[in-house]
């Protein structure tokens, strides 16, 4: 792989300055562009050095800690995205991400790839990152949609309860709709993969010298694992989450609207 010198980076940041100039010319506001570009540089270098360190240390405990921090950040991000949070939001989302993403990551890395040692950070961390990132999107969609569905279908749910439905039966349609919504991005991504754009991981592997066919196989594998993880994570969120909208006596309890 051809290394980039700091002068090379200076050259590409020149394009940011060009963009800033164009924005200014159009009477736009330049600050946010510059701040974002600076943040990108700082953040990525920070991550790079952390990874460099972790790859060198090769400690299982450290790798697991990093995965947990990534998961925690993901839950935090989901919380920020979902306006209408279900009761016991953090417990529900946290445990679902742990099972869904943890399961997906280790299924892929241990059973499929067969990592040796099992915590090989060069594979585990980026793959887990992709799985967690995509599950995060699925989790946000599932949680957000569930709240909306339950509120919109309040009359329908209570009518079903009145007719003798259990809470699970009465909320089934809401859960199914939310589940379908959560899977849409993964399904769409798979359908357009390779046609509209070359996926990031594959591109990266090819750039770093991997045989294209191997890169393709990895890309297919990661997409399958991502879809599986998204499905497990969001269904767990929905099944655990929906229970919290009901009492033990099949009574629907809607949380007070925020704000």
């Amino acid at each position: 792989m051809i290394d980039l010198s700091y002068f090379d980076l200076f050259l590409v940041y020149g394009l940011i300055l060009l963009a800033a100039g164009l924005i200014r010319l159009r009477g736009g506001e330049v600050r946010s562009l510059l701040v974002s570009a600076a943040r990108m540089g700082v953040q990525l270098f920070a991550v790079g050095y952390v990874l460099h360190l972790v790859f060198a240390i090769k400690s299982a405990a450290l790798v697991l800690l990093i995965l947990l921090v990534m998961g925690g950040m993901a839950v935090h991000t989901v919380a920020g995205r979902v306006r209408e949070k279900m009761p016991h939001f953090y417990r529900v989302v946290g445990s679902a991400m742990l099972v869904g993403c943890g399961g997906g990551t280790f299924y892929f890395c241990l059973l499929v790839i067969g990592l040796d040692p099992w915590y090989e950070p060069r594979y585990l961390i980026p793959l887990a990152g992709m799985i967690i990132g995509n599950s995060m999107t699925g989790a946000s969609l599932a949680a957000e949609r569930l709240g909306e569905e339950i509120r919109a279908r309040q009359d329908q749910i209570e009518t079903a309860l009145c007719l003798g439905a259990s809470a699970r039966q009465a909320s089934q349609e809401s859960v199914n709709n939310a589940f379908r919504a959560a899977l849409i991005p993964s399904v769409n991504a798979m359908a357009t993969m390779g046609i509209v754009f070359l996926p990031g991981m594959m591109t990266g592997q090819i750039l770093s010298g991997t045989e294209p066919i191997i890169a393709v196989k990895y890309q297919i594998a990661i997409m399958c694992v991502i879809t599986g993880s998204v499905a497990v994570t969001s269904l767990l969120i929905l099944q655990q989450g929906v229970k919290n909208y009901f009492t033990a006596y099949d009574q629907l309890v809607l949380p007070e609207k925020e704000r």
Binding site: T159, L163, Q251
Partner: protein
């Protein structure tokens, strides 16, 4: 009280004893007591926000009361499995909700939910209820969601009746209906009580209808039961509050109505 039906069963169907409901420290209902007998038609009247719907939702345990108790044929409803309770105490909401599918599928849905064999299209059980609700076989194949509101209301009533409840709770059953349709529904409810000995508790703003078909009237205001008695109290109220409400129901409604 309807002495005839009381004598027949020896005890009231439902006894409501000092129930209250609070939510976030706000009083919604306080110290409400009343009895219901088989075959009795009770009209629940009062200004909006006065606690009528709150009361109704406690009777089939759609919400949890915070004080008091409710007995169904002598048993505390909290001792009954909630699905059992809701089969005996059916409720039809103000806005009829049709599930996707045909009218027949809607009528069969309570049975499907309980995994019981549903009444088939030409069974006597189904035909009887259809006729009672002013429906017929022609409706069965139609998509339920495309019916008019009035028709949907009758389907939801039929759906509730098919499971043979002992008590029927109705939240403003005539609010979406025009005068003739409201009168027809009134006739239907009257026949239900008299012929099938079902008890009906109906929230209504339609005082004319209440006067015609109810035999007991309960007036709720500000979450409290202000006055109850035979339907004659609509002519000769004992309390100033009921008198005021009868003089101008809209006035009080506007004063007490809470922003949605």
């Amino acid at each position: 009280m309807d002495t005839l039906s009381t004598q027949k069963t020896g005890c009231p169907l439902m006894e409501v004893q000092g129930i209250a409901q609070r939510k976030n420290g706000r009083k919604l209902l306080e110290g409400v007591s009343l009895d219901l007998c088989p075959g009795q038609l009770l009209a629940l009247i009062g200004p909006s926000g006065g606690g009528k719907s709150t009361l109704l939702r406690l009777l089939n345990r759609l919400d949890e009361m915070t004080a008091g108790r409710i007995l169904l044929r002598g048993d505390d409803i909290r001792q009954l499995p909630v699905t059992e309770l809701r089969r005996k105490v059916a409720m039809v909401m103000q806005k009829p909700v049709m599930f996707a599918g045909s009218v027949l599928q809607n009528l069969q849905s309570p049975f499907a939910l309980r995994r019981e064999p549903p009444p088939v299209a030409d069974s006597p059980q189904l035909n009887q209820v259809l006729e009672l609700c002013g429906l017929n076989q022609d409706f069965l194949g139609r998509p339920a969601e495309q019916l008019s509101i009035g028709q949907q209301q009758r389907v939801s009533l039929a759906r509730a009746l098919l499971t043979e409840p002992q008590l029927l709770l109705l939240d403003e059953p005539t609010s979406a209906l025009d005068r003739p349709a409201a009168d027809r529904l009134g006739e239907l409810l009257y026949r239900l009580c008299r012929q099938r000995q079902i008890a009906v508790l109906m929230i209504t703003h339609d005082l004319r209808l209440a006067e015609r078909i109810a035999d007991w009237v309960v007036f709720l205001q500000g979450g409290e039961l202000i006055e109850q008695g035979k339907v004659e109290i609509l002519k000769a109220p004992q309390t100033a509050e009921l008198q005021q409400f009868l003089d101008d129901p809209e006035l009080i409604r506007e004063q007490t109505e809470e922003p949605a």
